[in-house]
Amino acid sequence: MHPSGKDYLDGGENLPLYYGGDRLVLLPRDPYWLYAYWEISLPTRPFLESAAQKNWESLDLVLRTHRFNPEKNEEESHFDIQIPPSSDNWYIKAGVPNKKYRVELGCLLPEKNFKTVLVSNVVTTPRDSLSDIIDENWRLPDWQARRLYWRIARGNLSSMEMMKRGLQQVK
């Protein structure tokens, strides 16, 4: 076996499927989509099972996505996605650029109660358009702004659609 070879250095090991902890991590993919992955450890499962009075396999797991206004940090809305208990990751169509999001993983109880077991970090979706916020000290007259942004959009042919959307505001 070569001392720099994979067989020797990795010792035949592979990556673990899980790490035995509880975590829920949220990542932004683009202005519209989020990605969440999670791990619910075996000792944590009974909390949900006893709250819902169901065994793990038949739990109604739900990923609750909260949307916040990025400036005021106020919650604007939330929505739920039903998740099969066998899943450990999900792409979430959050739908709105430039918003803060946090997700919770839990299960629905009778009378619409929600039992949370994991809470994620907070992420902000990117913008897909020009900012509405204009600094008055750095403002172009409208006709000049149109000329400027129009040409940048024309040049960026590879992402024309993205730019067009961004430009609707200055037209």
């Binding site: 070569h2 902890g21 683009d30 913008r127 993205m162 961004g166």
Partner: protein, 542 residues
Amino acid sequence: MVKGYLALIFHSHLPYVRHPEYKQSLEEKWFFEAITECYIPLIRVFQGLDQDNINYSVTFSLSPTLLAMLEDPFLQERYAEYLSRLQQLARKEEERTATDPVFLPLARMYRERLDFTSYLFNEKYGRRLVEAFKELQKGGHVELITSAATHGYLPLLGIQKETIYAQIAAGVEYYQMIFGNVPKGIWLPECGYDPGMEEILSELGLYYFITATHGVLYASPRPKYGVYSPILTPGGLAAFGRDPETSHQVWSSKEGYPGDYNYREFYRDIGYDLNLDYIGEFLHPAGMRSNTGFKYYSITEPTNHKEPYNIEWAAGKAREHAGNFIFNREKQVEYYGEIMDRPPLVVAPYDSELFGHWWFEGPLWIDNLCRLIAENQHIEMITPGKYLELGYPLQLSTPNPSSWGDKGYHEVWLNGKNDWLYRHLHTAAEKMISLATNFPRAGDTLKDALNQAARELLLAQSSDWPFIITSGTMDMYAKARVTSHLVRFLKLERQIWENNIDLSWLRHLEATDNLFPHLDYRLFQSLNETVPVEKDKLTGVI
């Protein structure tokens, strides 16, 4: 009177690939080809401009993994062997085409280029090409900048700010170790930006970074001059946005310069065209056909019909395209100049590996471009660092999260093919932070093990692995690499906590995954609890 500025930026990066366990490795060849076909031809162009006292300005980002490979004696030796084999092939090709008036000049061109490459690599720089870059920077026309240590895709690793700190600090430190100065700017891997990271960049003494077009264009508040003036981020650094027109002119598959029919055809290589009895000894020992770099045909037309390459015609086209590029810049800065209160700055970043390898005439195009601009009254070349010294007031604005990858955000590095990676990468980073925070003053073997754990984690974090997995070619290699580094990290972590370090295994690991010999694991210390050690050291040098 200068009407506008052009900042050409060449981003040079390859993942750390080094396989002493194999006699020859296909993946090491990426690096060897890049030296022969890109880095040395580009160095040659800029040395020529310096020699002729041409006034030009370009920026080069050299990723720390690339620098580490250029500095690695084992890879230097392997490259010298590789180059010597190519030189043998070049002589054989001259003999084979000796009576052929069409192909002999081409065979001779390759022989001369390889002889010069060998002279530059072996004799002039004693196999240390970083010396050539150092010399260029001293010449005053080339600004060298750094990148994240292993080119980690920071927006998706930034769950732990410590990762961003370690990636950037290790990159800045390694640059400093090699070039002696603190870099003014940084190339964020894949232009991957997420708000908040600029505080770390600024803390490490950096002045600027580059973003994709919509990184600056969609910044908030809305940037008055679009991407034609940098903005000042809340962290105090400047962000320069990429100009879309210059990227389109070079990159567009339909209208881009590299597709011109007179230019060299990449896909006709004697490694595929010639009989195995003749060419076999120059290919991979397993007998696989592969590129040799000897290509004798021009693109000609979009069919399989190819005419022999004509050196003069291609050189003429490179001149013409340089002229066309400048003409377009003149029109462009004239247009934006009417809107702006300052000369517009066109930021044109490209991958260095495009020039010479894919676009054979690319270095010649750059040479022509620099010479023509030096005589031009309206356009001046500049580096971002020098632009900031001009002192134009910059608008305060926060860039938009973005990348220069497909679709402009994070999807290339986060999709159904590679998303499984992040669970492991984040957990490993968490474990590394815990190690670094719990063992703040390790010595001897424990310190070595901790440093190696940091190396393995950094190697696992390369943006190249998720990128290659997405692209689908060589994805098995990328999966194996990232898995190996994570497995090695986890094994080290276990051994460290159990106080049971396998010394012989550790030494082999250090000898194999050997980049950044002076790396200090404490770069990963928790930012909540401690002041990173390296910060003082860096401030001292600044």
